[in-house]
Amino acid sequence: MAEQTPESVTPVTFNLDGRDVTAKKGDMLIAAAEQAGTYIPRFCYHPRMKPVGVCRMCLVEVDTGRGPTLQPACFIEASDNMTVVTDSDKVKKAQDGVLEFLLANHPLDCPVCDKGGECPLQDQTLAHGPGETRFVEEKRHFAKPIALSELVLLDRERCIQCSRCTRFADEVAGEALIEFAGRGEHVEVAAFPEEPFSSYFSGNTVQICPVGALTATPYRFAARPWDLEQVESTCTGCAVGCRVAVQSSSGRLTRLLGIDADPVNHSWLCDKGRFGFEGVNGPEEGNDDLDIVDPRRRISEPLVRKGGELVAVSWGEALSTTAELLRDATKSGPEGVGAIGGAQLTNEGAFAWATLFKGVLGTDSMDAQLDDGLDARHVLGLPRATMNEAAEACTVILLSGDLREELPVLFLRLRESARDAKSSVIDLGPRASALSDLAAVRLPSRPGDAHLIARSLGGDASAVTQLNGHPEGRTFTDDDLARARHLIGEDGTGVVIVLGRTSIAEDASFVESAARELHANLPNATFLPTLRRGNVMGALEMGLAPGILPGRTSLEAPSPQLRESWPLVPGKAGRGTAEQLRALAEGSQNALVLLGADPLIDVNDASLVARALHGSAPIIAVTGNGSPVLAHAQVILPASISYERPGTTTNIEGRVSRLGQKMVAPGLAWPDWMIAAELAREFSYDMNVSVVGDVTDQIARVAPSFAGLDAALFDSARARDGVVAGSGGSLAVVPALIDPMATPGMTSADEFGLGSFAGVVANEADEQTTSPATGSTLSGATLGSVAAPEVPAPDNYSLRLVATRTLYDMGSTVSSSPSLQALTPNAVVMANPYDLDRLGVKTGDRVRLRTETTTLNLSVEADTGVIRGTVALNVNVPVEGSEVHGNAVASLLDSTALVTDVRLESL
């Protein structure tokens, strides 16, 4: 919850239906009355958007001293000495009148309407509407549903012109791809013929449509509301961790709705999170006929390769085979094995696997990031900001990839505050992003430059001189720099640095060095890491990275409780992803465990991956869906995935929240923690856990940053929406009422006995339970000051590559969900028009990208958002006509290179 400024809490007192009630100054009557227990009917009003007062359903009598008049409660601020009447005959007649007008032209197709049963219009009509229609005229007719995009359909006859969807697109998402067309009775929602409503956020319009006008193709007619069952959970599509209501019918997931969690997603979801559930359902039939490399296939039984073929075996056999392989591999030392992945695990799964590897086998070679993230000690050690703090910061420094592509709902949150000029954004990204338009200053960093820009911000003139030395000159003016410095202030108070990888084709050390620089110069600034994959933060918190142990502690300084609980602690730091792959290629690592990751898709150095997989080391994959790497696996252990397993997850801000289980995992799949626990038994270690809550409790006991976050907490209402960061650990409980008009179709939480859990921020509970001895050992101070490496400017014929990510990629969520997969774009090179002119190519041309070792043929597009001297290219998307299967762009990248320079040649 927002820190409240004194003005915004000044109460006002007004008279509501004869009683005096108080409200926050600035609250609209509709919200103030609701707070006081009086619900005023509405259609166009949505609590997360600006009111427009067009449907007129919320008319009430308001008297400010000049006599009562009918006013829309959604557009009148509550003020002192106001008299408001919501239940007079006059109000009732006006509201009934509006309802009757809305119904006049509304089709009577409730029985076949997707919204039937959960439709606010239907509900209002049943509650207050006229029994019989007085409208005997011919109703308005429109051709039946039209597609606004691949995902959203519009039935214009049902539309009540509330403008929620068009306002969402313009105001919240910032892309007015749908807008009203026509006038008066003929007003309809429309996309431009050649430009469909292809927004990453389109599903939200379906969620907030108060009638059945907008429907989503993935769940159209999938279920009737009364067959639906619902559980609350957290989306692990990315590391924002949006709160979701997960609904299913007849054993299949049918729909996800965003819960209005104030600290997190404000009820919004991105389409990837909303529609990505198809991969959980798997194919409706014929699952086992799908090839093991097909991401749509669900893995439902343990498989062991025998004579070249994968054969279904019992869990017992699978576990003993796995243990055998691991034992073999560690004969000459624990570093013989390593694990890659873990971002798909629950916190509990991550902890159990860390226990097995680090505490039982004694190897430190675990890495939940796939060589495209940031050093875990930076992520865990730098002072952290919450999303609300970032959204309310005076100044936000963006040193990250395009958030709309990587962490979509974080983008919405930051966009809102930049849009309303609540915070000023300083954008250091190498390429204009969806937030750049709203940025106060842009100081674009070229690959290899981030640390120099950070030093420039700190006032280091030599860094500015160094940037001047680039053949294309500096990317910003003295004025820009002065403005940015002014916005940052002296010590970084009120500054949040949004920190992530600006390019995958650039070594992480530049951004990390920039972060250290910023931290040193701005001691009061806080950081919000933008690591992207589902529960990557939970995996890091649980120690799935070289050199660290659960609870933000380092290998050198484990918590006493951990030392007591684990049989051993690795003696030396292990390998990260690229190092493990190299060791596998060279034969110095003898086995690889894949925790839900697929290097063929996720690792951006194709030749390294190829070399690693062609070695003889066995690969053991723990996974829930098919994927290309499984063709190389010796053992496949089926794990339950999202919405099939209870437990907890951790988001970018460190918020730990509950995962709800709605589905039963197929066949013999087990929860991730259980697989590790059972394997540990094979090594004679009993983790002493029988249900997931036992693991949660163990984490709370041994991981300092999770102190106090035990299973009982997550079962209680204390972990509800409304935890105030910085409240000294006291968990404020603000029960969130579900407004059926804000998100029609969301079942009231109470029916299931669960509150709207939005989770707690790790560390927030520290004060209650943590004793200093068990404290985290990672901090900004332990980062040291390693200088960033120097890179020379590219030669005159080369352009420096900025490798970026896109939301719809070839990752498992998208490729296992047919609706989304259809939206994955092909790779296109983007370059500044100036460079294209220079090279004599134009948008649409085919070009060859050449590095010293590879070439790739692609289409090119001019983009002024790409700075001169660089080209931008999305990783992990298909390349049209490419021979390479999988992540073709990765063939250009070399994990040992500091930066990647490419030549662009016209074909």
Partner: protein
Amino acid sequence: MSAFSPEMRTRAEQLVAVYPQRRSALIPLCHLAQEQEGYLTEALMIEIAELTGVTPAEVRGTVTFYDMLHTEPVGRYVVSVCTNIACLLAGGQEMLEHAEGKLGIRAGGTTQDGRFTIEEAECLADCDIAPCVQVNSRFVRTTTTDALDSLIDELSSGDRSDIPPHGTLIRVQRSVGLVADPKEVEAQRTKVRLADSKASS
């Protein structure tokens, strides 16, 4: 490639420059587009969107709000007959029906040869010469069905050079610009833009 002809593109840019905020030029640009093509093609709407900094959907949203802007082709001559109250009292409805009969199309329709479109108009503000008829937004002041017939005949045979083809609205262009110090004007406009970008979004 511009959907506007080079000359029109220049005029379009001049129009954009006249306003403190470029979106304000949207409707004038639509008139310009109609002067060129008779209606708003998708390509022109996309170009207007670029010129005014909005999405094509927003351009179309605005266009479809206004009666004079067309997203489908209309005739070279748009004959508008007012049937609103003052004209109704003077036989406007009958005049409209007469025109429909004469051209063999219903209001809202266009003759096959693409020459005429008939529109039923709301009050055109020339109520003393009723029923009021306009061709391409020019008051033609034909108040009898006979006069209307001969007008249509004249238009058909090309005798009415005083009435430019549909779309050409203002033949007088702004020829003299602001004499004020351009820097001062620019500074003022920047201020609005800043204030606006804060207020409007």
